[in-house]
């Protein structure tokens, strides 16, 4: 029972809302972890503020009997930071690109109550290009993947995706296999 319960943290079929019958998820993509690192570093520095204040004003706080108040205010500060960190992580996690054997679904989460979902069927894919910009993106191997479509939305851009070349190959393979009837295989 417990083993089964814990299995949700290990393996997942990557199922999603609106998934069609026998539709298979080929790739689930999120932005490169480096993109979230900047805000996490900021929150890490903000977490140091009560510690620094405590170290500097420790004797002053203990003389005036404000030690308990300082600890309580610090706990509120850390609780607020905890919320802010997981708000950022939620935004990062919910920004996904799902590539299935039938379509590409781009979910853009701009806020907790602000989401845009775009869908692109494989037969509308015309061209895929990759754009890697700068030294960090080159060394950490992430970049933008642009898919040209025949639909109303002329192009789909997936920002800061890890291993963009591989993603491009998978999308092209998917578009080709749709025409030839051969299933997409991801290595």
């Amino acid at each position: 029972m417990i083993k089964r319960l814990l299995s949700i943290f290990r393996d997942s079929p990557n199922s999603f809302e609106g998934q069609e019958k026998e539709e298979r998820v080929v790739l689930l993509l999120r932005q490169h972890p480096f993109t979230i690192l900047v805000s996490l570093t900021f929150f890490g520095l903000a977490g140091l503020v009560p510690i620094v204040v405590g170290v500097i004003f420790w004797s002053y706080l203990s003389v005036h009997g404000w030690l308990h108040l300082y600890l309580f205010v610090s706990s509120i500060w850390f609780s607020g930071l905890w919320l802010a960190i997981f708000h950022s992580l939620t935004m990062y996690t919910l920004n996904t690109v799902i590539i299935t054997d039938r379509r590409v679904i781009d979910s853009d989460q701009h806020g907790l109550f602000n989401r845009k979902i775009s869908e692109l069927h494989s037969h509308r894919i015309q061209d895929v290009s990759v754009h890697t910009n700068g030294i960090i993106e080159t060394f950490l191997r992430f970049g933008d993947v642009t898919v040209q479509t025949a639909g109303s939305e002329k192009q789909f851009v997936f920002h800061q995706i890890p291993q963009p070349d591989r993603v491009k190959n998978v999308i092209m393979q998917m578009a080709r296999s749709r025409d030839s009837g051969v299933k997409t295989v991801v290595q």
């Binding site: 949700i8 943290f9 290990r10 393996d11 997942s12 990557n14 199922s15 999603f16 809302e17 689930l28 999120r30 009997g65 308990h68 108040l69 600890l71 309580f72 706990s75 509120i76 850390f78 609780s79 905890w82 919320l83 997981f86 708000h87 992580l89 939620t90 996690t93 919910l94 996904t96 799902i98 907790l112 989401r115």
Partner: protein, 103 residues
Amino acid sequence: MSRYVAVSSLPEEELTAVCYLNVIINMSMTFAFPLSIILNILASLIFLVYWIAAFIILYHLTRFGIGVQPKKFAAAFLFGSVVLSGTAIILFMNLNLNSLIPR
């Protein structure tokens, strides 16, 4: 300022009566809403707001998250939230509110 002038222009007997009434009102307000109760309500509101925000984040992670990662984040967030809230409650209980109230 105009109120101050108006009160100070009253005859001495009436002024004493106004001051007396003022003291009674202040005392009754202090008994009705002691500062410690106000601080308790404020702390309760902070916790309420925190857990509403925590619920929204947990709901998004578990309801809309795809794959394993959101579930891991949700579990870590819930665990950390419980620990931090518990710590904050204990620290609030240790707080001597009377020492914070100016006399």
